[in-house]
């Protein structure tokens, strides 16, 4: 017996395992492809958009989908497909960037608070409570008023508000994990605190984090639409999916396609996100049995 491993198999890391599991999940892969498609379209929009997103044809007005305008035109005679493509750039960017901001702040804050515990935890979580108590619209409006109206700030402002729930979820998970034997073992073998947080705690709480991310992305997309409508986000002639939908709702009875297509695109994206999120959660769960 020269080897303990008779089959001669290479050891597989947790990540390789996860990717393999994800690859077997058809729905998750579909979600991934759809999202990748949306992102690629959004990135290529300036080169592949069929029309200009701002050039108006007032004489044309709103016309139903046809061979020249696949998704029809809006009341200014602007091609809806083009506007959805450009809107996607804003919505996807807001969705991903604002969520990433929320993710980074929330996970770090929650993990540190939960891991250190004691007085630090109490202080950190009271800060979260205080920020929770602020009506968040007022908070965002305040940020926008102080720092001016730019898209980048919009991302940050939304992210700065959305991290609170993330921090709470993460802290709760960390508190539970901290008691478990493998963490004690890690402490015993002399890993530093950062290594423990990074290598043991965060991988174990990825599940709830990912589920929460898939919920945050759509909500920040809608928040952006709301802020833009109030004059705090992006301004015409630029648009986003949320704004296209909110304008579409108003003319729903006369020009249903103005609501239908942006709504459809947003729904597909959200479905894709949810499928992918579910798949990732299953794939990344370290407790899932190795087979």
């Amino acid at each position: 017996m020269s080897s303990l491993d008779p089959s001669g198999e290479q050891g597989r890391s947790l990540w390789q395992d996860a990717i393999a599991r994800l690859g077997q999940n058809r729905l998750a892969m579909l979600g991934l492809y759809l999202l990748a498609f949306m992102v690629i379209i959004a990135l290529l929009t300036p080169w592949i958009a069929p029309y200009s997103y701002e050039t108006q044809q007032l004489d044309l007005g709103a016309i139903a989908p046809n061979a020249r305008h696949w998704f029809g035109t809006d009341t200014f005679g602007r091609d809806l497909l083009t506007r959805i493509m450009y809107g996607g750039r804003v919505s996807l960017a807001v969705g991903f960037i604002a969520t990433a901001v929320a993710l980074v702040i929330g996970v770090l804050w929650g993990a540190v608070a939960g891991y250190i515990g004691g007085r630090t935890d109490a202080v950190m979580m009271r800060i979260v409570d205080i920020l929770y108590a602020l009506p968040f619209m007022i908070f965002i409006i305040l940020l926008m008023v102080v720092f001016g109206r730019s898209i980048l700030l919009l991302f940050l402002a939304i992210g700065c508000v959305e991290w609170l729930t993330m921090a709470r979820i993460v802290r709760g998970q960390v508190l539970a994990l901290k008691q478990q034997e493998f963490i004690e073992a890690a402490v015993v073998i002399g890993l530093s605190h950062w290594q423990i947080i990074y290598r043991h705690i965060i991988p174990n709480i990825l599940g709830p984090i990912i589920v929460y991310i898939t919920l945050t992305i759509p909500s920040v997309m809608l928040l952006e639409a709301f802020l833009s409508f109030l004059g705090l986000g992006i301004q015409p002639p630029q648009s986003s999916w949320g704004l296209l939908i909110s304008y579409g709702v108003e003319t729903m009875e006369e020009y249903p396609w103005l609501l239908l297509f942006p709504g459809l695109v947003l729904s597909i994206t959200l479905f894709a996100l949810n499928f992918l999120g579910d798949g990732l959660r299953d794939a990344l769960d370290p407790k899932a049995s190795k087979d």
Partner: protein, 540 residues
């Protein structure tokens, strides 16, 4: 136990359902039965103080709570008896003697006296109150001097209480539209003790206009003012003509989204709306013509420039922007409500006056002007903001114009919207580059449009000032002959249009939805509907 609970639950649910399905369960039907008028009122009213309000949605409410010396006839707008039962005009047309109605009472039962008018007009003219409408009374002898602080004794101003019920007004010149001024909210009386009870007379933040505090002499009293929700007024039993008043109650809802308002109208929540979403106008006109009203309206939709800030301190730039808007296309494709494109300020045929001055629609010439001003093809032109108050209609017009400017002149304009109160504040502080404006005539005379832009006029708001213009408007105020007066207005309007501190866009039409239950409601160019003649009755 469980089953009996469930039974109770089901019964409650059923009774709720049947109640909800009853024929009477909507505002319009119950309102018509109980003479309660439900109406949309645009944005939240910024103020209910007659001396401080400039917004149409405020004056809609104020004119139910207070009554001026005269009230307009609902059909012809001829002045009729209001707080004054009759009046004499001197031979030189400069002295008016008003005889107040001895039955006139405030809503707390106290009589309306001539001194109340003197008090109110004094308040309007106080420089400390800084009322934007104070210039309405500059037709009075010495009123302007008092407002400017040149005289401090109000007794020298041309308004006197001769006795308890006689008010004498001395004008600085014969003013043909003086009587119609008196049905405008800014000249309404206020109850002196009430104003004094809730703050200083010249304090713009005086709380006397709150529900419960308000004392008025109009057909209704203010019973509720819930911010962004409702303003409710109920019939005033102390009103001298209470027998004529048919309505028991009026509820004003602030709804600044026309789409929402239209849905509320359709679900019979409102008797009346302030507007109609433009994409629905054609359908109503075709399918339900009895519900939609489209009639001429004495008002101009325009944009103001801030002439104190570059680049709009240069009249060539202002003219160029004004010259490159295709107004015909805006009314045809964007507003769609039969509005008339306008190239000057005063609506055509205002009391027979039609301005000859007009800004041309001429893109090549506009480009030439921009080049002369140092912005060939828009190069070097700063990014400026176009400010409008939050509303679908304004947004659409702004988007269309933004694109027209970009195509014609190569300039980038950013759009920015604020809610109505914040918008008025920003505009008043001069914190804008271009701002949306609209002006509805306060009376039928070119003066109501043109005197807005005299130097430092409260509603000027552009910072524009032209001495020759001021002189012409003043002269016109002193001129009795109509032809001569109109000639002075023509000259003044030419100066205004040539220098372009504003961009006139279109002449309004009054477009709104009205339930067939609303009676006693007549069309006129001021879209004024004296509420005491309005009643609700179902057609069967």
């Amino acid at each position: 136990m469980l089953t009996s609970l469930r039974c109770v639950f089901i019964i409650t649910l059923l009774s709720l359902l049947t109640a909800a399905c009853g024929p009477m369960d909507n505002n319009v039907d119950t309102g018509t039965a109980g003479q309660i008028l439900h109406l949309g009122n645009g944005s939240e009213p910024p103020s209910l103080d007659p001396h401080l309000s400039t917004a149409v949605n405020s004056s809609n409410i104020i004119s139910t709570l207070l009554e001026g010396l005269v009230t307009p006839n609902p059909k012809t707008l001829e002045p009729e008896a209001g707080a004054a039962i009759s009046w004499d005009i001197s031979a030189d047309l400069r002295t008016y003697t008003f005889h107040l109605n001895p039955d006139g009472h405030w809503s707390n039962g106290e009589p309306v006296e001539a001194s109340d008018f003197v008090y109110a007009w004094h308040r309007l003219l106080m420089p400390e109150l800084a009322a934007e409408y104070s210039y309405q009374l500059f037709v009075l002898e010495n009123a302007e001097a008092f407002y400017k602080g040149d005289i401090t004794d109000f007794n020298q101003v041309g308004v006197k209480a001769i006795d308890r019920l006689t008010l004498q007004v001395r004008l600085k010149a014969p003013t043909p539209y003086f009587l119609s001024l008196l049905s405008h909210a800014s000249t309404f009386p206020v109850h002196p003790e009430t104003v004094a009870a809730y703050g200083d007379i010249d304090d713009p933040g005086n709380l006397w206009t709150r529900a419960g505090n308000f004392v008025g002499n109009g057909p209704f009293i203010l019973t509720e003012w819930a911010l962004n929700r409702i303003v409710r007024v109920e019939k005033n039993s102390h009103y001298w003509d209470a027998d004529t008043v048919a309505l028991e109650e009026i509820r004003f809802y602030p709804i600044d989204n026309l789409g929402t308002e239209e849905r509320m109208f359709r679900s019979k929540t409102l008797h009346l709306t302030v507007g109609v979403p433009e994409e629905k106008i054609a359908r109503y006109a075709k399918d339900k013509p009895e519900l939609i009203n489209i009639s001429p309206y004495l008002g101009t939709y325009f944009y103001r420039f801030n002439v104190n800030k570059a680049p709009f301190d240069d009249s060539r730039v202002r003219r160029a922007l004004s010259m490159s808007i295709d107004r015909q296309q805006i009314v045809d494709a964007v507003t769609k409500g039969g509005q008339i494109p306008t190239y000057n300020l005063t609506p055509a045929n205002t009391l027979g006056y039609t301005a000859k001055a007009a800004i041309p629609f001429d893109i090549p010439a506009a480009r030439q002007l921009m080049a002369e001003a140092g912005y060939p093809q828009g190069k070097g032109f700063p990014v400026v903001e176009l400010l409008y108050n939050t509303s679908e209609g304004h947004r659409k017009i702004a988007i269309a114009i933004q694109q027209m400017w970009k195509l014609a002149l190569g300039v980038e304009i950013r759009l920015f919207n604020q809610d109505w109160k914040a918008f008025l504040e920003t505009e008043k502080n001069g914190d804008f580059a271009i701002a949306r404006g609209g002006w509805i005539g306060d009376y039928v005379d070119p003066n109501t449009f043109l005197d807005m832009f005299v130097s430092n006029g409260g509603n000027n708001r552009t910072g524009w000032s032209n001495q020759k213009y001021d002189q012409l408007i003043q002269q016109a105020g002193r001129t009795a002959g109509t032809d001569q007066r109109f000639e002075q207005f023509q000259q003044a309007e030419k100066i205004l249009i040539d220098d372009s501190p504003i961009i006139p866009i279109y002449t309004y039409t009054a477009i709104y939805l009205k339930s067939t239950d609303v009676k006693g409601w007549y069309n006129n160019v001021l879209n004024a509907h004296p509420i005491k003649y309005v009643y609700l009755q179902r057609d069967d």
